[in-house]
Amino acid sequence: MTKSLVTLRINGESHTVAAEPHHTLLEVLREELGLTGTKHGCELGECGACTVLVDGQQMLSCLVLPQQIGMAEVTTVEGLANGPVLHPLQTAFAEEGAAQCGYCTPGMLLSAKALLDAHPHPTREQMAEAISGNLCRCTGYTSIYEAIEKAATRA
């Protein structure tokens, strides 16, 4: 296989890396850029663990090639905090115990961010809809709703 250069905008920074052309955004983030905060649970678009934001929209990074993204802004969990200041979702997730094993958490946080950016005070129904593509095997989702609600009051 021959690697080719690809330039991506990730968390406000521009990165040029060499990657196999058939490797997904997920693989490039994890393998080439060392951004292992983005997780994988199926690599078939079933679990949502690899959710990132592309220009603010939820996207499954296991189903997209970097070439398809171009210079769109990619946000991963590593880019969620504003410098040293955690995003209100991160603090609220900690306080409500919304991350148990933590594995679905990066994708869940980004789905929740996309929701709050669009609907600053979402209903439970909107929350359930927004995270319905992110499987969590630990929490039963209750504490996640509580965390999103709490973050909404602080944002």
């Binding site: 649970g41 900690a94 094993c101 933590g102 319905s132 095997r137």
Partner: protein, 804 residues
């Protein structure tokens, strides 16, 4: 005001921040210089002899560095020392589709994957066995040659009290068959590990495991490398639920390939492989006969379980006993007989899943309790309250019970749900049901017999007031690291954020047996408390002298050692620690925990069931059934759980909600099922996990009984709450539509079948479930033939039916 400074508070977990910022390093996040990538070749046959295995073409493939096969690691291994029947990679025979046969290490994952197709395997197919009935009857086909009777892995028979007299005294005897379908854990993180065999001849294995200590022992045995040269580090598990508590082929393969190549080797299973690794909930057929008096008092119980174990032992011997052991700890039973059989079949091995072996019989029992209450005209909650096993008692099978909060749990869910009004006034299609359950706070015995502690912990106090806690527990998302930090902080009077936790590392931390059987809070918690009390005594001794206050009047909290009579009279934690270090030298203490003696009986098989303390729970499910489509909607699940004491209420509620969610999935949709040895649903698209849109409203209620055995009174929280959820849903479905579901999962298809609407024949059923083993005839082979014939007939009818 609480007597505690940390215990009972809703504090964030100490390890939450790494998870929330993406910096937590799970096994697959580890990358080492010169690392190779491994892939496993898996069997395509359910049962076959390996006639030829030739790796030469694969080895010649550019980028492939090394390949190992079963012949390189022929040593038998397995989690239970008495039933080791597995090898790291298949030797001579394969016993299920998906069993690992060979392992490739290559420069990158794509190359390793490509190389798998270049490995030449020639199989001689053998007749496969897929059902419990076949496994019991077929003497002529042996999945394991050394099985004494057909394909029976384990058979147990236990009897307590006078069964005949009990049934003779009964006014009502109920006989019920039921079937609990197999399910799998489906953690979102797939199994992964990295092995590194270094120049000093030492092997380090980072792996997503619940049992670093047991794995350490098996690695020594299989690799022939002394344990002193092996270090196992349990990485944070991205969910486990019992599915990462066996030693696995990929772990041995990574280790051996690293030893051969002198390079680090990583294996990460893909999602499909996780369904083959399995070790999930056993499918179990059950027969339950219970005798009761007119007032509901139980006179005798005879329970029989038939477990479909899959191809290997895993924890099967414990699972078999567990299907019988905990039946006695909830309601008074004066006479009890238990027969359990676990068989081998050509499917991925079953093992422990949340509620290990107790979930299936609890389903059978609680559904039957509901039927008994109905027959006797009693309210199901009132009935259970009448026949509760008392606290501080011994059961008929000699299990010691300490605190027993089932009564409080039942009353709590009755009140929280408005039970009494809803039982009366719900329309057809709406229902409400209840169930109780129990679980252990850690197995009373280790899996290999030894008189050493079950858990050890070390605490070191730094001169700046920092505290390091070391304990061999595995953090699987249940919050064990936070529990260790909280117990240490409460004991020493500091804050959890002052504590640095080192867990799951066999070189740095004392042995803890692992994160299984809900043992960690009870056992590791007590070990940390033990170590903390030793250090606190040193701090108090020095502080007493400095402050001129007797030790008995000293207390510690919020980084202070203070006089209880005059709290302003105090030393800072750092001052007290520095004084103590000046006097005693480096401040290190070790603590340990061994369950007390006398918690179980002395009969053969008495080792499974005893625990320092049982947890109890009650669930109420509220459901709606669409009478036209058969769709079952669970509207709400309310679960009250006797956790002893909630060390961190937010985390305990999280365990209860998570258990309720997982139980809900098993009740309505999840099933690990096969067609001709092939997994029917080896993906998350087909094996459905409830999403946020599916999951009902979940309410968790904490019941605190403050058990004297637990650290600060705590018992388990992670497993028990699942057990009551599933029968509560089945009982609610009965309340809604008058159909008993003696079988899981409760699908729309089965509901329509019962309502007579599935094929418009109009034949309704008042129950869905098995009528016996096979069809209840003595000869399981004949039964199988009949079953198979009727299945064929059904299939033919289906094909012939007009499509509308």
């Amino acid at each position: 005001m609480s007597e505690f400074s940390i215990v009972g508070r809703r504090l964030p977990k100490v390890n939450a921040w790494a998870h929330l910022t993406g910096t937590a390093l799970y096994a697959d996040d580890i990358r080492l210089p010169r690392m190779l990538y491994g892939r496993l070749l898996r069997s395509t046959q359910p049962h076959a002899r390996i006639k030829r295995l030739d790796v030469s073409r694969a080895l010649a493939h550019p980028g492939v560095v090394a390949i190992v096969t079963g012949a390189d690691m022929p040593e038998k291994m397995g989690i239970m020392p008495s039933t080791q029947d597995e090898t790291a990679l298949a030797v001579d025979k394969v016993r299920y589709v998906g069993e690992p046969v060979a392992a490739v290490a290559a420069l990158d994952e794509d190359t390793a994957y490509d190389a798998l197709s270049l490995i030449d395997v020639e199989y001689e197919p053998l007749e496969p066995i897929f059902t419990i009935e076949e496994a019991l009857g077929r003497e002529d086909v042996k999945i394991h040659e050394d099985s004494r009777r057909a394909n029976v892995f384990k058979e147990v028979h236990l009897a307590f009290g006078d069964l005949d007299a009990g049934f003779a005294a009964a006014d009502l005897i109920r006989d019920d068959w039921s079937f609990f379908e197999g399910t799998t854990h489906a953690p979102i993180e797939t199994h992964a590990c990295v092995a590194s065999y270094d120049g000093d001849g030492k092997l380090t294995l980072w792996t997503a495991t619940q049992v670093p200590h047991y794995l350490h022992r098996e690695l020594e045995k299989v690799l022939k490398l002394p344990r002193s040269r092996i270090r196992v580090i349990a990485t944070p598990n991205g969910g486990a639920f019992g599915g990462k508590s066996d030693p696995f082929g990929h772990e041995f393969s990574a280790a051996l390939l690293s030893m051969r190549t002198k390079r680090p080797v990583k294996f990460t299973l893909d999602r499909e492989e996780v369904f083959y690794a399995h070790r999930g909930r056993h499918p179990v057929k059950m027969h339950l006969r219970t005798g009761v008096k007119k007032d509901g008092e139980i006179t005798a119980v005879h329970f029989q379980s038939y477990l479909d174990g899959g191809a290997y032992a895993s924890y099967g011997i414990a699972t078999t006993y567990y299907t019988g052991a905990l039946m006695t700890v909830t309601y008074r039973i004066p006479a009890y007989k238990f027969d359990g059989v676990r068989v081998y079949t050509n499917k991925p091995p079953c093992g422990p899943k949340r509620g290990h072996g107790t979930t299936q019989p609890r389903y059978a029992f609680e559904c039957q309790m509901d039927k008994i209450a109905t027959e006797l005209g009693l309210d199901p909650i009132e009935y259970r309250l009448r026949v509760l096993q008392p606290g501080n008692s011994r059961t008929v099978n000699d299990l010691r019970i300490t605190t027993m909060g089932l009564g409080e749990c039942l009353r709590a869910v009755r009140q929280a749900t408005g039970w009494d009004a809803k039982r009366e006034g719900l329309p057809k299609g709406k229902g409400i049901g209840v169930a109780g359950s129990a679980y252990i706070s850690g197995a009373g015995l280790p899996i290999y017999w030894n008189p050493m502690p079950h858990s050890g912990a070390e605490i070191r106090i730094d001169r700046g007031g920092g505290v390091t806690v070391m304990c061999g527990t595995a953090e699987i998302g249940q919050g064990s690291d936070n529990m260790l930090a909280s117990v240490a902080a409460e004991t020493l009077g500091i804050l959890p954020e002052d504590v640095h936790v080192v867990s799951g590392d066999t070189s740095l931390a004392p042995v803890d047996l692992g994160s299984y059987s809900s043992r960690v809070t009870m056992m590791a918690g007590n070990a940390v408390r033990d170590a903390g009390l030793k250090l606190r005594a040193l701090l108090f001794e020095s502080a007493s002298e400095k402050l001129g206050v007797p030790v008995a009047r000293l207390a510690t909290a919020y980084r202070r050692v203070y006089d209880l009579q005059d709290p302003e009279k105090h030393l800072s934690f750092v001052e007290a620690a520095n004084l103590a270090e000046s006097r005693h030298g480096t401040l290190v203490a070790a603590g340990s925990y061994t369950p007390p003696a006398g918690i179980g009986g002395s009969y053969k098989g008495a080792g499974v069931g005893p625990t320092p303390a049982y947890s109890y729970q009650a669930s109420v499910a509220e459901v709606s059934v669409d009478l036209e489509t058969g769709t079952l909607t669970v509207d709400k699940i309310t679960t009250a759980h006797d956790c002893g004491r909630a060390l961190n209420p937010a985390n305990v509620e999280g365990q209860i909600e998570g258990s309720a969610y997982m139980g809900y999935g098993e009740a309505i949709v999840e099933e690990q099922i096969f067609r001709g040895g092939l997994h029917k649903k080896p993906s998350l698209l087909d094996y459905k996990l409830p999403t946020s849109l599916d999951t009902p409203e979940l309410e968790a209620i904490l019941v605190e009984t403050n058990d004297s055995e637990g650290p600060f009174g705590a018992k388990e929280a992670g497993e028990g709450p699942l057990n009551s959820v599933i029968p509560a849903i089945a009982n609610a479905v009965y309340d809604a539509i008058g159909v008993r579901f003696d079988e899981t999962p409760i699908t729309a298809e089965k509901i329509l079948d019962a309502l007579g609407k599935r094929d418009n024949r109009g034949v309704t059923k008042d129950r869905i479930g098995p009528d016996g083993l096979g069809d209840g005839k003595v000869d399981p082979r004949r039964a199988m033939r009949r079953l198979s014939a009727s299945t064929d007939a059904r299939e033919r009818k289906k094909t012939a039916a007009p499509v509308d």
